[in-house]
Subunit: 305 residues, 2 copies
Amino acid sequence: MSLRELVVLGTASQVPTRQRNHNGYLLRWDGEGILFDPGEGTQRQMLMAGVAANDITRICLTHFHGDHCLGVPGVVQRLSLDGVRHRVFAHYPASGRQYFDRLRHACPFHEVAEIHEEPVDRDGPVAAGAFGVLEARRLDHTMEAFGYRLVEPDGRRMVPERLDAFGVTGPAVGELQRNGVLDVDGRTVRVEDVSVPRRGQRFAFVMDTRLCDAVHELAEGVDMLVIEATFLAEDTSLATEYGHMTAAQAGRVAQESGVRQLVLTHFSQRYDEPARFHAEAAEVFDGDIVVAEDLMRIPVPKRRP
Amino acid sequence: MSLRELVVLGTASQVPTRQRNHNGYLLRWDGEGILFDPGEGTQRQMLMAGVAANDITRICLTHFHGDHCLGVPGVVQRLSLDGVRHRVFAHYPASGRQYFDRLRHACPFHEVAEIHEEPVDRDGPVAAGAFGVLEARRLDHTMEAFGYRLVEPDGRRMVPERLDAFGVTGPAVGELQRNGVLDVDGRTVRVEDVSVPRRGQRFAFVMDTRLCDAVHELAEGVDMLVIEATFLAEDTSLATEYGHMTAAQAGRVAQESGVRQLVLTHFSQRYDEPARFHAEAAEVFDGDIVVAEDLMRIPVPKRRP
């Protein structure tokens, strides 16, 4: 079974509140579990959300401000305490390598789990696998920051009526998918004969940043865009000064980039009505909008029909 | 007004649970706020418990296992974010200086608050001030660990009836306390004439450790003993193997050391009935016993009459 969902572990910027822990997001993507920007307290939020250390296959940090990385020591130590046996990859801006080192070795523990660091120092692909390609783009924040984008390759969807018409049934369907061609009673069936193009799913994670070209590049055509909306439009000048975005800007990016679902998060504690973020983005974006709350599970939208 | 209380921020050993965050304890002692062993998530627990960064005057770490120190980065950064203007002292085992350095500088932040490190490398006094004397004793754990003990100097309690009899009233009372003698209508009144000895209050914080002499030395005659009771007596061999104590051992120490109030904490998540810790200690200790829960506020027992 393929399971693709975002588990929200925390949604506060800068300081936690009673309702919102510091950042933390686990993207479940079939067998992958990508932990983005674990802030302090992520270890306990994982417990609250039903996420096990063993679910994590990859850690991606956008940058090294505390609300995006101080959960790393707890997560790293928990991977070992729980005896996780698979290799866990870690991606972060290469300019912060010394900080990752401090976080990873913050205090003594019995190191069992294997963490393989692959720092990011340029735009482009970061990793590739059965999940597709993980890419990074440099953002525009007060320190070096990278956003991430996950792109599943386009494929083809089998059409049951055509399979029937060509007499392809049972294990032969898989064989045709793997080989591209199949001999059926002496006749060659090509995969194109029985299927239609299927667009791969796409996901993007964007924070912290001012509005810039990279935000659009990351967001282009994704099914789910998780993006910081620290401020409301009334505080656009503050957002720009501190290197952040507004809900209105996030909404415009989503609209211009053909995003299907917009997940707003990383809220300043100065606002006490989450509905305002939704309202502001909805003025410019006509797709699905979610104002993230801690411990939400948000399914990645089903494939386009 | 003198306010002396323990604010419990977290009570779990090793891993957090739904009910228990990792360790963290703020001792309010008149103008001092001593933060002991902040584990991951302490910053948010402070919010939940009504503790401000500005309340912290001193940070004391017993040792550098993650559940006792991974809250340091968040607390240190919060002191600066909130613009705390008083100097904050930090005490920790000197052998872990490199770890404190990593925790203190875990990632970039705008450093405003002044933290003054005074690492502990031997038994004896660590600091002295209006609060009394803060002492440390080396414990017996799987890594170097120190317990702490706060001793207020003994003083004298004024007896209103005697003050009346000697004609000492109003501001003259304070003058007599400060100077030790006072001239009243040509007659010399000594402070001993109008007061009785008053024992200073004492507090001890003991974790993580096997039962050893230092535990008794720290606990001797304290009004409040906060002590780890990771295990129950049925698991005494595990406790010894992992360098911990049982509730029964904590109770015996309290009884033998003339402790008034015993606060048990740092529980293994293997037990789901906190009442068992209470019952076990109560078999051997006839003073007040509190099984710590997160966000409890426990007043330091009033002075002995």
